[in-house]
Symmetry: C2
Subunit: 458 residues, 2 copies
């Protein structure tokens, strides 16, 4: 069944996200999509997981303006170079030209850093750790794709300032911990690599990319952590007075995550029947399907009440125009992780039948309802994780000759780190994501190299 | 003490919102402000209250794009006329001119309604009730003021479609119920009136305004409910097939609330010492201030843990560089509704001292901690409500001669409803907000009129 998705992942993906109400692509501007209730609830639940993990590590949530004046946007040369082709410009207010043109934020460095230079005065103001969950804008000229490449992006961006490079490096470690927590909560496997020089974020000292793989075999960058050193603090004069009274530049990091997590959840966990949503973020965690019979509805309502009283996102499907079988398929397609079937048998025996979207059924007595549902959640989380890891490992084929590069699938090679070898490697049509642990001979020149993943990228 | 705020409310307001971290006005574009952590947490808590009330009445949350193509924006003539002077235009992407100019949403009718015409097909799709919490944009040329008149607005907008006018009128009643719940939760008193014809929302059949009054005496519109009838559904072709197979236009309503609720909370409840935040939305509901002494910190941490385990937003102020007295003032200024003082006496007697920001102190034994804090919350809510209602009623002076119109304060008059009388009334510099229950002679022409509130407006 898995093969069918892999064969034509793109068609499956485009179809399932609209059919289940995650997105509506009929908005009359390319690359701008609508979040209908189901999709928006999923994104908000993902945001809640992210907020929790950021807050635990001392980040504070803020919200900066969307519009950035040209003069601020223009202050860090590398950064502008990276973004100038893909920003939207606001040039008019009413019928008059604006005195100063405004950029719709593609990311918020240039909105925040002039203010950071006011917020940071002394070493006691550091570290500064803030994040925001906002919409950012990119004037994409490439083909757009829901949740993956869009022109208005739901974006989570963390920004930090530190007394020195060492402390900003500790932040990178903290951010990696945060990421691990998020990925674990939604059972998404990933690889994490330092990007090659030519692929780092515009203005960064170095960039760490987090990639997962969709059934097409293409890699999807789902998070990035950037070390800026003092590149931006120089341009925006973000400095502090240390204990000895000396003026010093701060060192900065950023951490970016986006709506691509929705794409990852859909693509990594989905199957022929539809979505499979991790219980941590599913808009509906439990759906109750009544099998018509005496006292069934009353009993089902009691079960619903019990679930809701424990904060479980549950729904009772009372629609009369559909059969239970039709409902089973409908909720499976929508990816609801746990289904409770309630019919005469359950009513008579004072129990419920718990069906897991990942497979398996069990009957539990009513007093064990909450325990049974929670253990189903844990089991689903683990099953999703295990399956996804196996799939991802299966995609990655090690090769020792570039001629054997396998079609759409990623490959594992060894690479020496030199640009000329990279050019040869990337002439296969696959990009170098970055290097992992492991040593071997460079696939091009034979000199000592590191284990490196190459893939076609979204 | 109240007088001092009223004497120079504007200075007090501008000072307190920055000093307590509700906003930062130093962003280098007029009318675009930053939400720092404390202000953003307050806004998010208000959003949570609003979400709960909307969801209870069957609304579903969605999220539509920020950018609206000119051709969609131009479809309802009255609406455009009302907004064309105050929209921002996106005209360029990268270095090239866009094929079609895009408007930054000033409100989302023109983004949503082309899609509603796809979502609504048959009577079974109705009623449609959706809302979103987004940023909207107005190119304000008037003086800007934080939370009151800004260029990027945090906005909550409900949009509904109905089979007929009667059903849309029922929605207006539902929206009034929702509003009551929100206002009650934050103890904000208000008057609610149908706006005069010339003051209704562009494109509406009629508009209901909800106004509160700040200590300056000026009215602040904090919510609006609009009946659109089929004005927009005609322009956007939102129609459905009824039971008999006939094609019919839907009737629509909207419901708007904004960050002005922050201004209302600050202005209506604040006093000389600073903010007073309603417990329902306060970012910190309880602050614990330790009075240094043996075992105090350990005991205070235990109390903190108990509060947090019950979902109470609590903080323990362990800062060593400040005295308890300094901390008392600091937290009072920030408006934290409940303070717990813990010193040797409390430790020895196994109790805490609960101080209410609205006045009053009591000591309770530890086993009664949660009950004591919750009852303090209820008391604060009621006190805020009572005080605010008394203040509002005090502002409104009834007059029978326009010559006696009282400076900045609102007045209550009788008005016959005619435009020429309104012109005379409004020549006082005060605007007609709308009419309430109560009959009397028109203050201008003497013919039968309705009780009417006039005020200077924000």
């Amino acid at each position: 069944m898995e093969e069918e998705i892999e064969d034509d992942f793109s068609t499956w993906y485009n179809n399932i996200i609209e059919k289940t109400g995650l997105t509506d692509k009929r908005y009359p501007v390319k690359g701008l999509n609508i979040w209908p209730p189901y999709g928006w609830a999923l994104m908000q639940n993902i945001d809640s997981v992210i907020r929790e993990k950021f807050n635990e590590k001392g980040y504070k949530e803020v919200n900066f303006p969307t519009l950035i004046p040209k003069s601020q946007f223009d202050r860090e040369a590398e950064h502008i170079k990276g973004f100038s082709d893909e920003v939207y410009w606001v040039t008019k207010g009413g019928s008059s030209d604006l005195e100063e043109k405004l950029v719709l934020r593609p990311t918020s460095e240039t909105a925040m850093y002039p203010i950071f230079s006011l917020w940071v005065r002394s070493h006691s103001d550091l570290p500064l750790r803030i994040y925001q969950i906002v919409n950012t804008f990119r004037y994409e000229t490439k083909q757009t794709r829901s949740f993956i490449r869009v022109r208005e992006i739901h974006f989570i961006e963390g920004h930090t300032c530190h007394v020195d490079y060492e402390d900003s490096e500790r932040q990178v470690m903290d951010d990696i911990e945060i990421w691990k927590g998020i990925a674990d909560s939604i059972s998404i496997p990933y690889i994490m690599e330092r990007r090659p020089e030519w692929d780092k974020f515009p203005g960064a000292f170095y960039s760490i990319g987090v990639d997962t793989f969709l059934p097409s075999g293409r890699s999807l960058q789902i998070a990035t952590i950037h070390q800026y050193k003092d590149n931006f603090s120089k341009a925006y004069d973000i400095s502090y007075t240390d204990e000895k009274g000396n003026r010093k530049l701060v060192h900065q990091t950023t951490f970016g995550i986006s709506e691509r997590l929705v794409a990852a959840i859909v693509g990594v966990h989905g199957d022929k029947k539809g979505l499979i949503l991790p219980p941590s973020v599913a808009p509906i965690q439990v759906v109750i399907v009544p099998i018509p019979g005496e006292n069934v509805i009353e009993y089902a309502r009691l079960v619903l009440k019990k679930l809701k009283s424990k904060g479980i996102r549950a729904e009772l499907d009372e629609r009369e125009q559909y059969t239970p079988g039709w409902k089973f398929n409908d909720w499976e397609e929508k990816g609801v992780p746990v289904r409770l079937d309630i019919g005469r048998e359950e009513v008579n025996s004072g129990s419920v039948t718990i069906s897991l979207r990942t497979g398996g059924k069990r009957r539990v007595k009513l007093p064990y309802l909450i325990r049974g549902v929670n253990s189903a959640f844990s089991e689903i989380k683990e099953t999703l994780k295990k399956r996804a890891e196996e799939k991802m490992n299966g995609y990655m084929v090690e090769i020792t000759d570039l001629k054997n590069a396998t079609g759409q699938m990623p490959n594992v090679i060894f690479w020496c780190g030199k640009k000329e070898c990279a050019d040869t490697i990337e002439s296969t049509g696959k990009s170098i994501l970055g290097s992992l642990e492991g040593e071997g001979k460079c696939i091009v020149c034979g000199s000592p190299g590191k284990k490196t993943v190459i893939s076609k990228k979204y």
